[in-house]
Symmetry: C2
Subunit: 889 residues, 2 copies
């Protein structure tokens, strides 16, 4: 038997199925599936991807038998549609489209109305009774064919059209008459001849094979080749070609076209929902020139008649179809349909895009309706989508006047009056005003103002700048590094990207999810964690294996995170406690002390505050695990930099300004990220870590002794590159901890572990594990060092890299599995090799990003830790990881 | 048969051999070897390391039979020395020393004169006829025993001695009489009793076993355990104990002691060379209280009589011995001897330390003498030693007054008048003055002054600061990052670490190999590349497999490197060409241009200069391979920072100071090392790389076409982290290169490759190799990112880390084989996996460090590249790599 190269679909029967993507491409498989479940799909056929491969194997010749098979299927189409290809009475017109296994830009797109020539156009006139429509279709076909199939510059024919409009004194294409369009057809054909040195093909068969050849040819054009290479798509996949009967929604008032969703994609409500236009083409619905009418009474506001009312029969038919579709696809469907002279045709169905809110509701509803399982429901909600639900967000329908754009440093939306200092923010807040704190950059002194503000806007600093990190911790909206604004503190003004001036007290709105800054107040939508959300997350927690902890530095953060389901603290950054306005003075004294004695005096002031911090955290977490990282950032981050601040500090410390300046200068670093920080501080100033360990253990012992808590503090030492560092610091920590335990005379267990955040730590993790009871992968820093890429400085080129797909994704957002991920995996394997029961987690920002969480699951981490507002995202992603694994089995 | 625990040596016979280090320890094996080749070694025996292990296995009990074996060997000693342990007439005194396989601080050291008590001291008086000597020996024994064996605080007995001296009104120990010393012995014994609650052991047997027990006990003391852990010495190695007869060079005028070298260790001249003292102890020769006499007439200046003259018989005996020793050990020997009453004893022989110059001469001479092979000769010279030969160095005998210490940024030594600006340096140089340029840090504007100066001293900046890198390239002495000095440009002064002020015009000397800054002029020694050096390097080149290239940015550097044997340029840093004072303006215009057009205008000015650079380099290298790295550093490195410089530039560019300042500020980076640099510049400003590639290829094509050169330029793209970067930049480079080749209508081949200097590049080297014809490992940056350690900032803690052995070595000096090396090896393997013939090299500073070169050989690199002055070191190390491999086979 001859090889089957062509698959027919039409009249409720299809030779292919939805499962045959490899042979039929995505589009062909979809058309076959829709047809075979009984939908009225315009008949057609698909030429398989195999033909594409044969074509290239045989020096661009078609395999034997193809022409015959196409001819045969074309006849079947004609019969079914009761039209004839090339006929001047009842002409069959077709569309020709490419369709590969994966959607692929760079391929030939679409040729519509193929089959038109000077004879068949007469048939269209007769059928439609509309000469203008017929010639408009004809001239469009010539344009598409010339451009898409023959590669003629689109401008050449467009110019002729523009000239004619000028000549006739009209602005719109629609103002041209049937005669004009007929003339245009002639002019187009002449130009075609002139440019390509050949006559525009009259024979529909020649047109058809021209288009088919163009589809196959486009598989090997440069854009497609580049796209495949960049996306690792093998060229052996090939493309299919789809040929389908044209149907028209614009052939009269018994014609229409529309789009609809089987449920409301915005709210999730189970109500058929859509719009349609009478006597119109698909594009008209989208273009917004005419106002579409609602599909049913329930979906309209009564001003325009619905399809339910004006075309009741078609509406009923469509209702049945949409119910059938949802049952078949078991998900909300986004459908396109056309009614040609009273006959309903389905053009497209696909899973509908939906808001996070709708996604959750639909998933839960469908479980209740018995349509899907709980596991399927969980997989129906994209983890990243949840972010929408957890922060206030801009009303998507509100108009906005964007005046600048910075980095989306902390999600959410906020509006308020502009203020330029933390003190003003606090004062205004006490008066009940909502403010946005606008600073060149923020520093520890600004914390109270950040608390008081609705949102923070900075001109400088990246995604890990002080403003960004603190704001994310607070769950507060922040746009950072917005270089487009220029701030003048003196005049209390900033200018935006257009040069417009904004004064103190003017109102702006920030979108921390897009980085946009807008004029005035834009309405925001509050997060609503509905009952459906709770139900879904219950299922989620039943499926996942990974634990989800949070990064939290204060009892307040911890409380938010627990309300989002955090199962512990994976990273408490003690330095954020140091930044507190009440204690920064003591911290500075400690740093600037001339000797050990001076440092110890200052540390004695700090220890009571630190102990109180840990008491608060431990109480909030009620026995859940808490990992506390000892001091990490370079010391100069805590120092004042302005002349006045330095003078103040000098006075309060009783030293000269010069001495202080010299010290500040001495602490300056060229590359602080790679400088004197992390455990290197612990090695050179052991008394600082000793103080911190003492504070941690005193807090734990006190709670165990006096309040009956059950706590196992996890002491984490940052930035280890060599096991000997950890050996020394672990010994110091154990000495202090055991001393405290002896003082309190209680039994308290504790763990000492480390961050794996430098390539060398991952490479030597087997040795490091000898000294560590747990590893926490600090993938922020690990990404910075693995790529040699400072997150604070990458703003100048990283967006360009992502846009140009040099990096498939921002590696600070989704973990880079080929590089950073290899090190993480190596760290896990080597760690477990030495210490099989070592506790493994991740505390970089990746811990709250879905693809990264799935990666963490795959390589067998015990937990991920992320900022409080991302905890639900991580929980959901962790469940996806398990369910996707089950599906793959 | 009972296990043999004790090995005897004496009278030309030894039970052990030099090969038995594992059982006898280093010292024991050495004593056995000396004895068995017939040297007159004081008789003794060694208790094996096995006993140490048994001791700890059996709860600190000695194995059966040990006591008997010791007793037996002691008798043999007595017989041989004709003395008796504990005898009051002819008492035998012994020394007890530990001796493990590896030399190990923390272990018990030495007890001398063991066997003395109130009876035996009488025998010594009789033997020596010197009561004072006898009691002095006795009191020293008590002191040593109390301190070393019993752990008594040395101060306690020393205080008694001091009190007595005060009481007697004398300053020196030697002024105490025999009676005083006798009294002291009594006082010491009382104090011993008082402190330790036991009587000082009278019985020599008890003394002996006390000392043996102390040696074994010291194996498990904390210092020894720590040392072993840090140096990976297994505790199972154990220690041996050596017991040896005492001999005295201070028992009269027929006694003497001395040290000698079989050749001159400073010049290498083949002449027996040494010093001795009559009636003296070994320490006296070293202590320098008495002036030693020369060992022979040839070695003296005639003022003091030589041993050859005053003790001709012993001298002749010693001559024979030293000849025998050299023949036996086949290397220059450093020997210690003692003559007791006319009888010569050899106490020690070991391979002699020698200067680089001597090492080369001795190695070549010994080949000529037929003593060693060429391969052995090559292995006799330590690669790092050669550095001494290649730079002027401080006269090691000159006194020096160190006023500050910074980083040893560029080796060599230089003296000159202090100047504080590049212009002054140049002016002074024109007047024929020698100057040292002293700056807080240097910048491109200072290059002419650096050329003019003898050496450069900076207060800020690390080993890769501008000053350091440029100075090394020039082969010029530099001390950088010398934070101990404070510079005041206004007053034209700097203060040193003592607070002393140095004015402009004062003379200082720099030692670029130690980082020391000294007051005044210290004599320096010029490098002399003798004929022997050439001969040795000829052998070296015959043995090595690794090629050695140089890092050179100018024809001058290249010429120096070729004279040192460089076989190509492995790294030409084009940015150093940008720093040139004549073109920095154009470079700045390029950087600060508002748009592409502006950049291209500025680039058009630069291209002629760059082409000339490459013409010069290619001509100098005469067809040897030249790897040119495209622009690498962040752009702001080229910008002016002072207000005046900015104002000047603004004027010359015709823009406002504010505009310029804003741009400079915009280019500021938090972590420039991880910022917008390397290939990221090439991606965002392709026109810069295009200009450079054009300049390279135009130079190459011109030389091929007009001067018949045979050149294959190697275009190197820096800082690749992802293959797509290289894919784009390679395509750009190929396009420009092919265009130039077509313009010149010549056939020129070229390679495009990349640096592997980021962990991610090493991790994904298989993919990167698809786009690279060569890899050059940039281990400077790779070390920085793998460790998360900025070389410029590490000064605050890295020295501490190295001192405390947290890092076994500075990883910027010797490649870290456990971390960075793993990535380099991975890069090689993955690179070759994709492209088996890929060219692999290294161009970090490690390329000139011996252990790193050996590592590069092991992992199969094709070449190393280093700064010109280290080329001979790399050549020698490369030969060592081959020869050490042969030895290991």
């Amino acid at each position: 038997m001859a090889v089957k190269y062509v698959y027919f679909f039409g009249d409720g029967k299809a030779e292919g199925t939805g499962a045959m993507r490899n042979q039929l491409g995505g589009k062909g498989a979809n058309l076959a599936e829709m047809t075979s479940i009984g939908l009225p799909v315009p008949a057609g056929f698909t030429i398989t991807t195999e033909v594409c491969n044969e074509f290239y194997k045989n020096d661009r010749n078609y395999p034997d038998g193809l022409k015959e098979q196409v001819a045969e299927q074309l006849q079947a189409m004609e019969k079914l549609m009761d039209k004839k290809f090339g006929d001047s009475e009842q002409p069959l017109l077709v569309s020709v489209r490419s369709g590969s296994r994966a959607s692929m830009p760079g391929m030939m797109d679409t040729v519509l109305n193929l089959g038109l020539n000077d004879q068949t156009v007469q048939g269209i006139i007769k059928q439609s009774g509309d000469e203008r429509f017929a010639y408009d279709s004809y001239r469009r076909f010539i344009q598409m064919y010339a451009n898409v199939v023959k590669g003629l510059d689109g401008e050449l024919l467009e110019d002729i059209l523009e000239n004619m409009k000028e000549d006739r004194g009209v602005e719109e294409d629609t103002a041209l008459s049937a005669a004009d369009l007929k003339e245009l057809v002639g002019l187009f054909k002449n130009k075609y001849n002139e440019e390509l040195g050949e006559v525009f093909p009259r024979d529909p068969q020649e047109q058809l094979w021209g288009a088919i050849g163009a589809v196959f040819g486009s598989w090997m054009n440069q854009r497609a080749i580049t796209y495949r290479r960049l996306n690792s798509i093998p060229s052996e996949w090939g493309t299919a070609v789809n040929i389908q009967s044209m149907v028209f929604g614009n052939m009269g008032d018994d014609c229409a076209t529309g789009v609809a969703f089987t449920r409301n994609p915005s709210t999730g409500e189970n109500l058929f929902f859509g719009e349609f236009l009478i006597n119109a083409q698909g594009e008209d619905v989208v273009a917004g020139i005419r106002t579409p009418q609602p599909i049913n009474k329930a979906g309209g506001d009564g001003t325009l008649p619905s399809m339910e009312e004006v075309m009741p029969q078609s509406y009923n038919e469509l209702m049945e179809i949409q119910q059938k579709l949802e049952k078949h696809y078991r998900d909300i469907q986004d459908i396109e349909f056309t009614i040609e002279k009273g006959r309903l045709f389905m053009l497209q169905t696909r899973n509908g895009k939906r808001t996070a809110k709708a996604a959750v509701k639909i998933a839960v509803d469908m479980v209740n309706e018995g349509l899907i399982t709980e596991k399927e429901a969980v997989l129906r909600v994209a983890p990243e989508q949840l972010d929408q639900l957890l922060h206030p967000s801009l009303d998507p329908n509100a108009p906005k006047d964007v005046i600048a754009k910075g980095l989306p440093a902390s999600p959410g939306a906020a509006a308020g009056e502009v203020v330029f200092s933390a003190d003003e923010a606090e004062a205004a807040n006490k008066l009940g005003l909502k403010v946005i704190l606008v600073r060149v950059e923020t520093s520890p002194e600004d914390i109270h103002g950040m608390h008081a503000a609705q949102g923070i806007l900075t001109a400088r600093g990246g995604m890990t700048s002080h403003a960004a990190v603190v704001a994310r911790g607070m769950g507060k909206c922040c746009v950072s590094g917005c270089g487009e604004i220029k701030i003048n503190y003196k005049t209390q003004q900033f200018t935006d990207r257009n040069g417009d001036v904004h004064n103190k007290g003017d109102i702006i709105t920030l979108d921390g999810s897009s980085g946009e800054v807008m004029r005035g107040t834009i309405a925001t939508v509050k997060p609503e964690l509905t009952g459906d959300f709770g139900i879904l997350m219950g299922w989620v927690d039943g499926f996942r294996r990974l634990k989800v902890r949070t990064n939290a530095d204060s009892p307040e953060d911890a409380a938010v995170a627990r309300s989002f389901g955090a199962e512990g603290i994976g990273l408490c950054r003690t330095e954020h406690m140091f930044f507190d306005a009440n204690r920064i003075m003591a911290v500075r004294e400690m740093i600037l002390a001339a000797d050990l004695e001076g440092r110890q005096l200052a540390l004695a002031k700090i220890i009571d505050m630190q102990r109180a911090d840990f008491l608060g955290l431990f109480r909030e977490m009620k026995g859940l695990p808490v990992t506390i990282r000892l001091l990490d950032p370079p010391l100069h981050e805590f120092l004042p930099h302005g002349d006045k601040d330095i003078a103040d500090l000098a006075q309060s410390m009783g030293v000269t300004v010069d001495t202080l300046k010299h010290k500040v200068e001495f602490l300056h670093e060229f590359n602080p990220m790679l400088g004197h920080r992390g455990c290197r501080l612990g090695i050179t100033f052991p008394e600082v870590y000793d103080m911190q360990v003492r504070a941690i253990m005193e807090a734990a012992c006190q709670l165990v002794k006096e309040e009956g808590f059950d706590i196992v503090p996890e002491i984490m030492i940052p930035l280890i590159s060599e096991v000997k560092e950890l050996e020394i610091l672990r010994a110091n920590a154990v000495a202090v901890a055991d001393e405290v335990i002896a003082e309190y005379a209680v039994k308290v267990e504790y763990l000492v572990g480390t961050m794996i955040e430098l390539p060398r730590a991952a490479l030597t993790a087997d040795k490091i594990a000898e000294q560590a009871e747990f590893f926490s992968f600090g993938t922020n820093d690990l990404t910075q060092t693995t790529y040699g890429l400072s997150r604070d400085d990458a703003g100048k080129f990283l967006p360009f890299y992502v846009e140009k797909e040099i990096f498939p994704e921002d590696p600070f957002v989704a973990i880079d599995q080929d590089g950073v991920g290899v090190l993480v995996q190596m760290g896990c394997e080597k760690g477990r090799q030495t210490r099989p029961d070592i506790k493994l987690g991740i505390c970089g920002e990746h811990g709250g990003e879905a693809s990264s969480v799935i990666f963490c699951h795959k390589i067998g981490l015990d937990y991920v830790s992320c900022s409080p507002y991302r905890v639900p995202i991580a929980r959901l992603a962790a469940a996806h990881a398990v369910l996707l694994e089950e599906l793959a089995e």
